[in-house]
């Protein structure tokens, strides 16, 4: 029991650390590599849950995480990044230091929130959920602080890693495998979108006023 917890905790914790590492990286290729590491860690974590909870079909999710997100997508994105010549530094809206401090605050917030709320749940669930929420919030932070289509995809995929971690941590949750497949389709579409439309930079921000001006919809 304790050993089982320790391994789950280790893998989830390393995933969180890679989340922070992604905030730190300032080159797209480094971000992609870090993401691949996180996906492989996720795959290990899910496989461990499959063993610990005795739910063999979770291995499908683990395999998907490893194959698609750990290997294929990072490789494909890296090739495209090189082809489009955007492997240089990524413009960041806020600096690394601020992003780190925000990230730490978000991590603390999610731990406090989840641990307080899930008092009755079992060990795996509480631990997994706390880590997962932190990973999700860090990924959101990354999506906000980067102004580049590829890093945003990576941020979204990282967010999704957190979700899969949470879903597999919730003991006996049905449809997890199906949802992970659905997510994979979604991500494949994301990557496809970048490939087809060659979206280089993401258009500044989600601030609609800025976009209104592009559209001739300004005051």
């Amino acid at each position: 029991m304790f050993a089982a917890y320790d391994i789950a905790h280790l893998l989830a914790g390393l995933m969180l650390v890679t989340g922070f590492a992604m905030l730190y990286q300032d080159r797209i290729s480094a971000v992609l590599t870090t993401f691949a590491v996180q996906a492989i860690l996720l795959s290990c974590a899910v496989a461990w849950q499959a063993v610990a909870q005795n739910r063999p079909h979770l291995f499908i999710t683990a395999a998907l995480a490893l194959g698609l997100k750990g290997l294929v997508i990072p490789y494909a994105l890296r090739r495209m990044v090189l082809k489009l010549g955007m492997h240089r530094e990524v413009e960041q809206v806020v600096g690394v230091a601020k992003a780190f401090i925000l990230g730490l605050c978000l991590t603390a917030l999610s731990f406090m929130l989840v641990l307080r709320v899930t008092v009755k749940a079992d060990v795996f669930t509480r631990e997994g959920l706390a880590m997962a929420l932190a990973i999700i919030l860090i990924a959101l932070l990354m999506m906000i602080t980067r102004r580049n289509a590829v890093t945003q995809i990576v941020g979204f995929m990282s967010l999704e890693n957190g979700l899969i971690l949470a879903a597999t941590g919730a003991r006996g949750m049905p449809l997890v495998v199906e949802v992970s497949v659905a997510f994979s389709v979604l991500i494949a579409l994301f990557v496809f979108g970048v490939f087809v439309f060659r979206i280089r930079e993401r258009f500044d921000s989600v601030d609609i006023e800025a976009l209104d001006q592009v559209r001739g919809d300004q005051r």
């Binding site: 320790d6 905790h9 914790g13 650390v17 990230g103 060990v123 631990e127 880590m131």
Partner: protein, 320 residues
């Protein structure tokens, strides 16, 4: 009564031991670096020779130096010695173990650093000033991380006193704890910064643009310089001993084990320290020094890791 005497003797032995071993550790590091660079290198006892040479030499003092400049080396040495002597080495439960508190340790190290920085500015040369300001910048970033690392361990062990923390980790079955791993990484980064090692600072250069620690002590010579160098060597021993005590405490003689168990502990401790010195030497030759402006990012990593470590330790504590 007899026990008290033994414990006092043990404590005294430890105080002398750190003094004895400190130049040797520095010698090993230099030797290892030299061998990795395909140089023959000076023998490992060279630092002893250097120290005695410096002690015999005349100390040249600038005209406008105040009493602070003259007394600082002794104060720095004293703080370093006390800090090094407090960290449990071969045995727990020695005479002054009650004082080996992590917060006190941080305060001792910080005090030495502050005095040195003041002395660096005392003469009024630009080198001293720039060295002090950089040293303080590094300190403001490294010290919070150091405290967080200590608090993480204290949270896990339930005590802020070093012997009890070590005892806790010896007595519990070894497990994979990510908090410990993160704390170790953070601690190593802090240790590199505090001891002015590569990639934060290069102890072997006097290049104007990059030096930090060396710039601060540039005006010192003779016995003053000997004191400061000795203090720096003691500081390395302190940090290596801290790693040995907190992260790999196995082999340390438990409290009330008696003098005979001490010898086994001593052997284990000395080998841990030597291994640490070899690793540090290998690390220093394998990477390059960082630009000063990258340092906040590098030390920021230590802070983030230490913070994550304490948060995760908190999760583990709350969940289990």
């Amino acid at each position: 009564m007899r026990d008290t005497i033994i414990l006092l003797a043990g404590q005294f032995a430890q105080m002398m031991l750190v003094l004895l071993i400190a130049p040797l550790i520095t010698g090993i590091i230099r030797r290892v670096k030299a061998r990795f660079m395909r140089r023959k290198g000076a023998p490992v006892w060279q630092p002893y020779v250097d120290l005695s040479k410096l002690l015999r030499k005349e100390s040249v003092i600038a005209e406008n130096a105040s009493w602070l400049f003259r007394s600082a080396p002794y104060a720095v040495f004293a703080f370093a010695w006390v800090a090094a002597a407090l960290v449990p080495s071969f045995a727990a439960g020695l005479m002054f173990n009650w004082a080996a508190d992590v917060v006190a340790l941080v305060a001792l190290l910080g005090a030495g650093r502050a005095i040195l920085a003041l002395a660096g500015m005392d003469i009024g040369t630009s080198f001293g000033g720039i060295g002090s300001s950089r040293e303080m910048m590094i300190a403001t970033l490294a010290e919070p991380a150091l405290l967080l690392v200590f608090l993480t361990l204290a949270l896990m062990a339930g005590s802020t006193r070093l012997p009890e923390i070590a005892g806790h980790f010896i007595s519990t079955p070894p497990t994979v704890r990510i908090s410990l791993a993160l704390a170790l990484v953070a601690f190593v980064i802090v240790a590199l910064a505090e001891n002015a090692r590569i990639p934060v600072d290069n102890p072997a250069t006097h290049l104007e643009l990059t030096m930090v620690h060396e710039a601060m002590v540039l005006e010192y010579s003779g016995r003053h310089l000997a004191m400061i160098e000795f203090a720096a060597q003691l500081k390395i021993v302190t940090y290596l001993a801290l790693i040995a005590c907190l992260f790999v405490p196995w082999g340390m003689a438990p409290a009330n084990a008696g003098p005979f168990a001490w010898f086994a502990g001593l052997l284990a401790w000395a080998s841990k320290l030597c291994l640490g010195a070899v690793l540090l030497g290998a690390w220093e030759v394998s990477i390059a020094k960082m630009r000063v402006f990258r340092l906040p990012d590098f030390l920021g990593i230590a802070f983030v890791f230490a913070f994550l470590a304490i948060l995760m330790a908190f999760v583990t504590r709350a969940v289990l």
